[in-house]
Symmetry: C4
Subunit: 258 residues, 4 copies
């Protein structure tokens, strides 16, 4: 089987089994750490292909360190189904609530890339300024309705539902002074979204500093660009393969390579 | 013992023995070097768990290179108690003076991360703009009362006391055109503070350049965020474990691993 | 044979055989990936020294991963002559169209370095601000005449010809909200151009933010600088050797080293 | 011999022999490459301790790759005394002219760190904004009197003398749209100057963007700071040791380690 086919297979939208999803999830964690989008904090989830009412996610550990043994099965209300003596992420409710509200979607990212924060604490909206940011064409709302007393963490079922409602039909929402949530059809598209959200925010910031109104990508064009350039199976497979190769180069000692 | 428990143990607030504190101190030095917060200059200290009137600190060497054999015991007036033929840091008086004035605190950082300098030479105060900067909620005063003739180094007992008085009940103070001092309950919290001070300063700078007044985190919310998100034992253990893993990955040849 | 001579030989303008050109092309891909100018996307081509009506280019794969076995022969209309079961780059038409329109040139770059995007979405022209950007002395036009329905990708023969016509006698053109195309006499000069285009854009952006009109390099001086400092055989050989050494240091496990 | 003493010895101001100077020069080249101050271009020289009328410098090669075998002896007028079949740097006249005009100095840097360019193409003077930039206290003049026809390269004896005269008693001069020259008493101080020139320029740029007049370091204070903090034998030895350790970590395969 050629490398291209193998890569396309590895990035197929719906892994057939939970075990395949777990392997892809571990790699998504490593890619996002290796590319500097996640640090000790932040988390990624994927809907369980064997049960759409549960999702898979690492236990409370930095994404950089997560292995297959660290992946838990959790229901959409945040109950951990895997028997563990360790702890789940406190904010797992974000993932359950969004997956519940968006049955067509299967993967959720929550993290704190620095580049998005300026757009979360001003009234300047993030918009697609280059083709790799095209998936932002529906707009990026900013959440600012935190439960009091939880230190800006999203922990209650009520706030999870509020988050999901605020996200609505968008793919990305910012959380004021905190970070962002991203939803996607599958893990590869989620990783693409997280990495290029950072890049689009960086370039938009750089352009705004020049004091000129940038020529943003028209939403109609951006929609096609997203479908063709970013989320088509061939470009997605190429990006995934590239990021996997970089993980393997930079983390040669990591366990659980396949 | 699971990895989580081990990490929590390694980050317990008060190491029981001087030897445990020395091991944690060497790792703190490596983490701060590896994350780019310290270069050849800057230093970290921890109160001696076996004697609250002394503290532990590397001899005059870059933090990146310090091993357990390089750690000295020093009293709060700056007298080196360890018999040495080498030299201590010239600015060790900063550490003694702050630990003397703040008996509830046990760890001190002095360094020169570039990102804080702009806030030390203008009248723009550093403020918490994202949750990881919440520990700045009490404000960040700027010291500008240098002894003349010492080239902006803090070397005299009198200036050490002036520094400690200026810091007051804050956790962070900037030194004009020079760097910053940070105080914390323990080394893991100190490392968290040093790394995220840099990140908060970076994001605040990026946001201010957009020409909009940022929505800072309210001090009351920031205080809770600091307690829950940053300085709780579980998130602190997760961050510490993450940074240790990165040290081990990037410095595989360093001696004295445990 | 001394290292200097070997490097000069390796960078000679016109490789004598297709095999030599393929080796140089693989290295150009690796250099541009290693220096951060290309990521999973972007592509490089070189005219076939054995047939000026065809060019050589990797199949659809990230430049970082391309080996000699991945190089295809393609005619100037974009027809793939190599028998393959894999896929070529969708945008190969850019390369064919430019090589057809510029018979004196032999190498083409298409990529998306973030630093150039701000100049593609505002009306601020890129200009040589430091000697390594001297090759921009003829100006850098911005293309904004995309075929509709292709998501900003350049895929049709008609758009390829429009791109080539818009490029005209220039060495670099930006594509609005997308990236840039570069043309050069040979692969080493192309690599020099791609790396220093990024650096010149970065410095020009930094300078413009200071709110002063920069003193750009006069076109007449820039032209001589390009010929003497950048594209002379000796400086080009020195840069090429330097970037190759960095590739070998950073990618010790890559296959197909010669 | 303890590590500290060894480091102090390695950084002693005047190596006793040409051989010692050559070893220090190769390391200076590697440090400046490893810290990102030099790329394929730029060069460093040191006065020959066995003959003050000649200096030592690598042949035309990237500083990153230079070994002891690549070091040439050159007189102050630029004549290469070492018998070679390879080539010297085209701009070696800069080094000879400055060493001739400044008999109290023994080491010269010429390079193109991006961070200084904005200050070379606007009328904003570089000034010491943090203690590590204190060595700029005498001001940083900008040269803009290029010989025509040489593409901004400094190649003629006349222009070398013009450069030296323009530098005068300063330590640093910028070359408009090109880079900078630095002179120092010895190689370790030269390396310190080159690295922190970049950092001071970066921080000054960051501060100016905030739109406030920065509080620069007073020249009288900066002078003392330079003498005590930067160029004293102990801090210089600590920095040198730190950068050497990083070279050894990052370039484990480089030949000619001692």
């Amino acid at each position: 089987m050629g490398k291209n086919k193998k890569a396309a297979e590895e990035t197929k939208n719906t892994p057939g089994t939970a075990q395949e999803a777990i392997r892809q999830l571990v790699m998504a964690n490593r890619i996002l750490s290796n590319e500097g989008v996640l640090d000790a904090f932040g988390h990624v989830s994927v809907r369980n292909p064997e049960n759409p009412k549960t999702f898979l996610q690492a236990r409370s550990i930095s994404p950089f360190e997560a292995t297959e043994d660290d992946i838990l099965e959790i229901d959409l209300e945040g109950n951990v189904l895997t028997k563990i003596t360790t702890r789940p992420y406190g904010e797992r409710i974000i993932h359950g609530a969004i997956l519940n509200a968006r049955p067509e979607m299967n993967a959720v990212f929550h993290g704190h890339p620095l580049a998005v924060i300026p757009f979360s604490v001003t009234d300047i909206p993030l918009r697609p300024i280059m083709h790799v940011g095209s998936f932002l064409y529906q707009g990026v709302p900013v959440y600012d309705d935190y439960e009091s007393g939880y230190g800006m963490l999203i922990k209650t079922k009520e706030e999870g539902e509020r988050i999901a409602k605020h996200l609505g039909e968008h793919r990305v929402q910012l959380l004021r002074g905190h970070g962002c949530n991203i939803v996607a059809e599958n893990l590869p598209q989620l990783v693409v979204s997280a990495i290029y959200l950072r890049d689009n925010a960086t370039v938009q910031w750089q352009t705004l500093l020049l004091g000129k109104e940038p020529k943003y990508i028209h939403p109609d064009v951006a929609k096609v660009t997203m479908q063709v350039v970013l989320f088509g199976p061939i470009p997605t497979a190429r990006m995934w393969s590239y990021w996997v190769t970089r993980v393997k180069k930079n983390m040669p000692d990591m366990k659980h390579w396949k």
